[in-house]
């Protein structure tokens, strides 16, 4: 529908003389862009005027440029379509840097268009001038400054191409104001070809065969998958592959949902706050089959103690992610989905694995599972945050899009919400950006208007982009904010309790606002929940309010900590399962 509409407009406008500003807008329309998240300013006045005159583009006005970037990001993570951000020069551009870095760390495709001061003023310390190409160079996949109106359309096409192919990432296009006023003949390129950029998609067949033979011969295999499996939309192929092999599967924080959480082969998340069974399996494995995962430090713990007896097969689209932290025995460079399809094909010519081979392994895993590492005290007089997430999962049928901020609530959401589908769990895993959750939920709701969208947050994080409540009202976004309010910066407090002899330096939030009054002042529904018995009823009530944003201020147990935990500097076999156990202070980092 959108495409055919665009094609009509494309036909109508192609070859016509347009201003740079009109070219920016028309290029986005011709690229099939559904939404632009932005905030206007001096250097983008021409572009905003072109938006005003064009009926083919949906511009979403956020209340802060950072909100625009996170909203575009949430839209992308939940739909797979590239998010677009449009902001002005100087502070408008610097305000999106956190959002760009967030997307970059998690390999999220994004195109950011920034206004720039007029060409002749560049370098003059002009009003609202910032060298945004220089500032963002380390946190974008690529960026460019446009110097000629003739290059705008091709630069935008190139930006989408680079953002979406290979290992995805944000691409920034900086356009001086005078260039948006000049005119030229408009032609939007159909395709891009670059001699310096030709990402590899298909895996090497010989390597694939070697990797599969190792996997089939292994007695203690683990399939370890990450965000790459979600980004490549490879959940179906991954599930089919893992079931055929019969090996246990663990997902990283970024990979949750790529393999169904309710499946019997699923071990849960691994890493610092992963499950006992996932981490022990990683430690004892003789073969790790990594799929779109980058052996991040939160996953591996101390590298010298990481999977000491394992050999490694690694599928990744980015050659630089292979053997970066852990030396890989069989590297396979390629798109995760394409390579898994190649694997499924190659398996037809290899002997089918016998269940016998791994039966001892599964017995061992059953023992670890018997630890029931995610159990928590459910008799407390205080609301347990874990219980809130379990109830949320139940009441939403496990099918909500859940965004989160960063901290304890993020870990509880990852641990206790069972994600059976990809693109349902949206969080800043790499950069760990507080303030991400609410704007990301907005983007997710725009992209999935009929979905239930929940933002799991804390009393610290939510204040970092609280202004976006106004955007939610303007566009009538019925997001449910689940604020696990413990009056602390809980994750930092947890580390201070364990490793700094309970010196709670600046982690107590002394004057938390009245969130009910605050959300009501923004025109939304506020609820305060203080008793464990009220949680389920309140959640149902909130989700029944289908067309309203509800801010649920849930007062939780202040002393609750996230377990299990691998203290920094420890290995997978040195987990602390419960608060009673003594934490051995590791090396702090």
């Amino acid at each position: 529908m959108l495409r055919s509409h665009n094609e009509r407009l494309l036909n109508k406008r192609s070859g016509v003389e347009l201003s740079g500003a009109e070219i920016v807008v028309q290029s986005l329309v011709d690229e099939g862009v559904e939404f632009v998240f932005g905030y206007p300013g001096g250097a983008t006045l021409h572009i905003y005027d072109a938006i005003f005159k064009h009926d083919g583009i949906n511009h979403i006005l956020t209340r802060h440029e950072q909100g625009a970037a996170h909203a575009a990001d949430g839209y992308t993570r939940s739909t797979g379509n590239t998010g677009v951000v449009l902001v002005t020069s100087g502070p408008g551009a610097t305000n999106v840097v956190t959002g760009i870095a967030t997307a970059h760390m998690d390999s999220i495709p994004m195109v950011i268009i920034t206004g720039q001061v007029m060409t002749q003023l560049i370098g003059n310390d002009a009003f609202q001038e910032a060298d945004i190409v220089g500032i963002t160079r380390p946190c974008v996949k690529h960026n460019m400054l446009i110097k000629d109106v003739k290059n705008i359309a091709s630069a935008i096409k190139k930006a989408f191409h680079i953002a979406e192919t290979g290992r995805p990432g944000p691409v920034l296009v900086d356009i001086p104001k005078d260039i948006t006023a000049e005119k030229t003949q408009y032609v939007y390129p159909k395709s891009v070809s670059m001699r310096s950029y030709q990402p590899r998609v298909k895996g090497n067949d010989r390597q694939i065969k070697r990797g599969l033979e190792m996997l089939l011969a292994a007695e203690r295999p683990v399939i370890y998958t990450g965000g790459g499996a979600v980004l490549a939309d490879a959940h179906k192929e991954l599930t089919e592959f893992a079931r055929y092999i019969g090996a246990p599967v663990t997902n990283t924080l970024m990979g949750l949902g790529a393999y169904p959480a309710s499946d019997k082969q699923f071990l849960g998340m691994l890493g610092m706050h992963g499950t006992y069974e996932a981490n022990m399996a990683m430690y004892e494995a003789d073969l790790i089959f990594a799929v779109g995962a980058r052996f991040d430090d939160r996953v591996t713990g101390d590298l010298t103690k990481f999977s000491p007896r394992a050999r490694f097969v690694q599928i990744d689209i980015d050659p630089a992610s292979i053997s970066k932290n852990v030396k890989t025995d069989v590297p396979i460079v390629g798109d995760v989905k394409v390579v898994l399809l190649q694997c499924l094909e190659a398996l037809k010519n290899l002997e089918k694995p016998e269940a016998e081979r791994t039966s001892k392994w599964w017995q061992q895993i059953a023992q670890w599972r018997g630890e029931n590492c995610l159990k928590f005290d459910s008799t407390s007089q205080f609301i347990k945050p874990q219980q809130v997430i379990k109830s949320l999962c139940e009441i939403t049928g496990g099918d909500a899009i859940v965004t989160s901020d960063v901290g304890q609530h993020q870990m509880w959401a990852a641990q206790y919400y069972d994600f059976d589908k990809p693109r349902r769990w949206i969080n800043s895993g790499g950069l760990g950006t507080m303030g991400f959750g609410l704007p990301a939920a907005m983007g997710a709701q725009f992209g999935n208007p009929d979905a239930q969208v929940a933002c799991v947050t804390g009393d610290g994080s939510i204040l970092m982009c609280i202004q976006e409540l106004a955007t939610c009202l303007q566009y009538k976004l019925p997001i449910k904010i689940i604020c696990l309010n413990n009056r602390y910066l809980g994750m930092v407090r947890q580390w201070q309790e364990f490793f700094y002899e309970q010196r709670y330096s600046h982690t107590y939030m002394d004057s938390v606002p009245d969130f009910v009054a605050l959300s009501e002042s923004f025109g939304h529904v506020g609820m305060r929940i203080e008793n464990p018995g009220d949680v389920d009823g309140a959640l149902k009530e909130a989700f029944d309010l289908k067309d309203r944003l509800v801010f649920m201020d849930i007062v939780t147990d202040q002393g609750e900590n996230v377990f299990p935990m691998i203290p920094a500097g420890a290995g997978h076999s040195e987990m602390v399962l419960r608060p009673e156990e003594n934490l051995k202070p590791g090396e702090l980092s």
Binding site: G134, R137, P138, L145, M194, R195, S196, P319, A320, K327
Partner: protein, 164 residues
């Protein structure tokens, strides 16, 4: 281990700072860096000398390849290669004995005296890093007023050529 890495990159503004920025952001060291245009005006050729173990060098090559403006990357120290550096040194040269001694030294190293005043010589010498080191060693007893080195450039031996 010392490596000489050659990079062909798009001759676009900012391309050099992407390469330099990569090294500082990821904590790789750069001993020297040279860059200039090639016979193809759309391409620049960059040569850098770095040190690191095999794992670090592998990451450096991969990370360089990942930069969008980078067309080709090769570690020329992997095979037979030539390396050259130009050094210009302004030294004190007072009195005929000192001046004669300097002439002999520059002849041994097949260098040139490219500028002269009544009290100074400016010397030019080209060579690989070992030759430059010995040359500087030979100047140990001479008062050096100023030194400038071009940084190492290099090319592989044989028929194969680094082209886009």
């Amino acid at each position: 281990m010392r490596r000489i890495i050659s990079v062909l990159l798009e001759n676009e503004s900012g391309a050099l700072s992407r390469v330099a920025g990569l090294f500082s952001a990821r904590g790789y060291n750069i001993e020297s860096l040279t860059v200039a245009a090639t016979e193809d005006s759309t391409l620049s050729r960059l040569t850098m000398v770095t040190r690191g173990n095999d794992a670090v060098i592998e990451q450096i090559l991969k990370q360089l390849n990942k930069l969008i403006d980078v067309v080709k990357v090769v570690d020329i120290t992997e095979g037979a290669h030539l390396e050259r550096e130009v050094i210009l040194v302004k030294v004190q040269a007072k009195g005929s004995e000192a001046r004669d001694e300097m002439m002999r030294l520059i002849e041994i190293f097949k260098g040139k005296i490219v500028d002269v005043t009544e009290t100074t010589y400016t010397l030019e010498m080209t060579g690989d890093s070992a030759k430059i080191s010995s040359f500087l060693e030979g100047l140990k007893n001479t008062k050096i007023l100023e030194t400038v080195r071009s940084g190492i450039t290099g090319i592989s031996r044989g028929k194969s050529a680094l082209r886009a």
